[in-house]
């Protein structure tokens, strides 16, 4: 019961936020010998990192607009490909100019690339079209770069598992309720264990607020003047198959909808940029969906006839920059912002992080842990760039064929639970055994369950049923998990309910409602929300 049971833990540093920033910081801190605990109010990488474009930047996007970012991206791109290859697919990237684009930008791009150390080389239009036949045949310029695609969850889980190997602890579904500040220093972090209905207190001497778009909210929990964080919302749409196998960018000054990224089995078009106030409520406006489809049509003629399979909104965590109007979030600096509360509020042991991008997460973490060390008056060496992050499946880069290859080998011996994404039963039950309190979405993020064309239509029931048979949950909770899964899938379906996906949804409803009558299952004693 709340208020009665309070678990007490202690650590040198508490990291708040389980996105790429927090995961990177946790790993770095743990490798430097700090005892560290990471807290997240829900699952890992449910925030910005779980809702981004899937792009590992080559730096090309920033060579003109933000040269500092460009250089950082270029060097971190190479580092991550070395230390976290299984999370990354070496797709390569193109920057292409379509009819009507600024004809001079290409030269500025190449000059900027040279100046910032971003590898870039011009290729012939014919070559670009040969390699990517779906591209707009009217493109007039093409430049090749080292963009790659990255699975944000694989990235975060990898870093977190590495951190755990170095002694760190991770508590998901533990929202922070209060941060104790006394005598000019941080003393403890209070949080609530949602699954066990229990309060937890963590005594610590440092708090790293890596909560992304929620960092402002977290800063309010200190009792200090809050840090103003503007969630800069952008939408993305996943198209059902890889329209391209190379990342394709528009060769223009950065704008909306100018990138198409092949990630796993889909291609993702994005993104937009609108100021929001509440990071927990990010709409997917109809007008923005149309804007993204138009943007896709510029790159790939016939894009509007291709199948959109899911849409989502993520928000960039931007700390308010007094130089630019707060309404225009795109032109805020992408660089990381570190608010040192010692300087700002006279409180030791608290840093709030904003901005940044996933590609440079490791470097961001390095800066943050360095800043922490500086405040603590010590200098411990960062080794995150040199140590490979271990993954269960080996250390080579991700290739999209790998699940097909694996299922070809084991399809006569193992069931396939999610046929769209070729997820085998063993993969599912293995993860479920490790993480038995997971929701189906928690599992989905790491396994891609329900992320293919049928969007859970065929695999949802199997997953819920197997969870019961594996004794992870009873039928009551399994029903709740299934309901939650369907409800969550819908969030990303209803804004793009057209074309082939409306047929799919009709069939899925026919199955779930018509054949299975899932809506008339005895409702769980309590609606499952996590």
């Amino acid at each position: 019961m709340r208020g009665e049971d309070v678990r007490t833990l202690s650590a040198d540093v508490v990291v708040i936020g389980g996105g790429s920033t927090g995961a990177g910081v946790l790993r770095d801190a743990a490798m430097r010998g700090y005892s560290a605990i990471l807290l997240d109010k829900s699952d890992l990488a449910q925030g910005t990192t779980g809702r981004f474009h899937g792009l590992l930047h080559s730096g090309g996007r920033y060579v003109v607009s933000d040269p500092g970012s460009a250089s950082e991206c270029a060097s971190e791109n190479a580092i991550l490909k070395r230390i976290q290859a299984p999370a990354i697919e070496n797709t390569g990237g193109f920057f292409v100019a379509v009819p009507g684009d600024d004809p001079d930008y290409g030269d500025r791009f190449l000059a900027g690339a040279k100046a910032t150390g971003v590898p870039a080389s011009e290729i012939s239009v014919a070559d670009a079209l040969r390699r990517e036949p779906r591209l707009n045949p009217g493109i007039f310029r093409a430049i090749e770069v080292e963009d790659a695609s990255v699975d944000g969850w694989q990235l975060v889980w990898g870093a977190v598992n590495s951190a755990k190997q170095h002694g760190a602890r991770v508590l998901t579904y533990h929202p922070v309720t209060k941060i104790d500040v006394a005598d000019g220093a941080v003393r403890a972090v209070h949080c609530y264990d949602q699954r066990r209905d229990e309060d937890v207190v963590i005594e610590c001497s440092f708090v790293l607020n890596c909560a992304g778009p929620w960092a402002g909210r977290i800063s309010e929990l200190t009792g200090l003047p809050p840090v103003p964080v503007i969630p800069g919302r952008g939408i993305m749409i996943a198209m059902n198959h890889r329209l391209v196998n190379t990342v394709v960018n528009r060769l223009i000054y950065p704008a909306d909808g100018d990138i198409l990224v092949p990630v796993h089995t889909v291609s993702v078009i994005g993104t937009t940029d609108s100021k929001e106030t509440d990071p927990d409520h990010l709409p997917i406006p109809r007008a923005e969906v149309q804007q993204m489809l138009d943007a896709g049509e510029q790159l790939i003629p016939g894009f509007r006839s291709a199948r959109a399979v899911h849409a989502w909104a993520g928000s960039r965590p931007l700390i308010k920059d007094d130089r630019v109007s707060s309404e225009d979030t795109r032109h805020m600096s992408r660089g990381m912002a570190v608010v040192d509360h010692l300087a700002r509020d006279g409180v030791k042991g608290l840093l709030t992080i904003g901005g940044g991008k996933l590609t440079t997460y490791r470097l961001m973490a390095e800066h943050i842990v360095d800043a922490m060390g500086e405040q603590l008056g010590e200098r411990r060496e960062c080794r995150t760039a040199s140590e490979e992050i271990p993954y269960a499946g080996g250390s080579s880069s991700y290739v999209v064929t790998h699940r097909l290859h694996d299922r070809e080998a084991d399809r006569l011996d193992d069931q396939i639970v999610c046929e769209c994404e070729l997820l085998s039963k063993s993969m599912f039950t293995d993860l479920l055994a490790e993480q038995p309190t997971s929701t189906l979405d928690d599992l989905r993020r790491q396994l891609r369950l329900g992320m293919g064309p049928c969007q859970g239509g065929f695999c949802g029931t199997r997953a819920a049923g197997i969870a019961v048979s594996e004794h992870a949950v009873d039928a009551d909770r399994a029903t709740g998990l299934l309901r939650l899964f369907l409800k969550h899938r819908w969030i990303g379906l209803w804004p793009i309910l057209y074309g082939d996906q409306v047929r799919q949804t009709a069939l899925d409803q026919w199955i779930y409602s018509g054949t299975l009558d899932v809506e008339h299952l005895p409702t769980p004693s309590e609606e499952v929300v996590r």
Binding site: A306, T401, L404, F458, Q504
Partner: protein
């Protein structure tokens, strides 16, 4: 094929609009329900699996060899309610697989049906003896992987051209205009009876039948992933069939080959030549052609009765043409003839699939429901529109199997089918 050529082929096929039909797949499993191969063996995971599902994972190297178990019967595409070109996706995947891993010599030889005909015909009795000799066949199985028990064509002493040259000139003057006759390799060399009957029926109906010099349509090459060879074969044939003039119907007794001209060369090989499209538009299976006449009120139906029960099997590559079952409709116009549709999806031979050692048992299992049905219902004769299917049925049941036009020929009083 070299690695770079394979890569080029993959680049050509990758992301093209055909591939985009995979977007229409809603995973409904209707194709898998109808697949005759996955019904008999777990080695093939079904058309949805190797087609629209696996295609989302394909880029670069071919990793799933099980696509080779697809027999290209085309049933999946016909039954798909969403318009996914499942069979075409499978064919493309197989072509890439073959490009990367090579096409066995055997597959190159089996596909040269015209060459076989030309080579075999002058020495027909010897050729037949070899093909009928089980020791020789065992040797072929070991060396080339052609199944010892698989049906092989019988060479004739006289080709169709030979017969056309030597026969007395037709006495009736044509009253209805011209048709171009496409006989296919079998009709030309191995199984000329159906072709002869077709020519005589068409002439009886008042058509002037033009039979240009014609080669192979390339279907066998295509289904073995030899896309370059298939393309040049079909292009040559198109030129030959257009020679007698445009605007003339092209009528065929080669059931499956008609499908190659009508749609497969375009859909699978990706050929867009206006000449090919023109030929495709004008091509009719002979039963289809006669039923169109009938529906327009222009087919004489004073048939002599044939008192017999005949099982009729429509080959998958005729069903996939989307013309219904005109052969059955046509045969039912003959008084006293009881036509029993096979209800079977595929005879198993699927062109050259069932000739292959490692596919032979699967092919026989696929065809078993058909063979059982033929054995149960036949009264001496069975009917089917494609020659390879006829050989498969005859070999597996011992029942004489003819082209439906041969029954029409008899019903018009132009001849008799032996054994009826």
């Amino acid at each position: 094929m070299s690695e770079s050529n394979a890569k080029k082929l993959r680049e050509r096929l990758n992301n093209e609009l055909k591939r985009a039909s995979l977007d229409a797949c809603v995973k409904c499993t209707i194709c898998e329900q109808s697949c005759p191969v996955s019904a008999v063996t777990p080695l093939f995971s079904g058309p949805k699996f190797v087609g629209p599902q696996a295609e989302r994972f394909r880029d670069g190297a071919s990793v799933d060899h099980s696509v080779d178990y697809c027999s290209s019967c085309g049933t999946c595409s016909v039954v798909c309610p969403q318009g996914v070109k499942v069979a075409e996706l499978n064919s493309l995947a197989r072509a890439v697989l073959k490009a990367e891993h090579g096409v066995p010599v055997r597959d190159r030889l089996i596909t040269q049906t015209t060459l076989m005909g030309k080579a075999m015909t002058p020495v027909a009795p010897i050729a037949n003896a070899v093909l009928g000799n089980s020791a020789a066949r065992k040797a072929m199985e070991l060396v080339m992987g052609v199944a010892a028990s698989a049906p092989m064509p019988t060479a004739h002493g006289q080709t169709l051209r030979g017969w056309l040259k030597k026969r007395p000139a037709p006495t009736k003057a044509p009253t209805r205009g011209q048709v171009v006759f496409f006989h296919g390799c079998a009709g030309g060399y191995f199984e000329t009876e159906a072709a002869k009957c077709a020519v005589e029926v068409l002439e009886f109906l008042g058509f002037e039948v033009l039979v240009p010099e014609q080669g192979c349509c390339g279907l066998a090459e295509q289904s073995n992933g030899l896309f370059e060879q298939a393309s040049s074969s079909v292009r040559a044939l198109v030129g030959q069939l257009r020679k007698p003039g445009v605007g003339v119907p092209i009528v065929s007794t080669a059931g499956s080959c008609g499908g190659m001209l009508k749609h497969e060369a375009h859909e699978i090989l990706g050929l867009d030549d206006p000449d090919l499209l023109d030929v495709g538009r004008r091509t009719r299976d002979i039963s289809e052609f006669l039923m169109e006449l009938h529906d327009a009120g222009d087919l004489p139906t004073d048939f002599a009765p044939i008192a017999a029960r005949v099982p009729y099997h429509q080959p998958c590559q005729v069903r996939s043409q989307g013309i219904g079952m005109p052969a059955a409709d046509l045969l039912r116009l003959i008084p006293k003839l009881e036509v029993v549709e096979s209800g079977a999806i595929c005879c198993g031979i699927a062109g050259t699939y069932g000739l292959k050692k490692e596919k032979y048992e699967i092919a026989q299992a696929v065809g078993k429901p058909l063979f059982d049905m033929v054995l149960e219902t036949n009264q001496g004769v069975a009917a089917c529109d494609t020659e390879t299917c006829r050989w498969q049925i005859a070999k597996s049941t011992g029942v004489k199997t003819i082209h439906p036009i041969q029954l029409v020929h008899q019903a018009y009083g132009l001849g008799r089918v032996e054994g009826l």
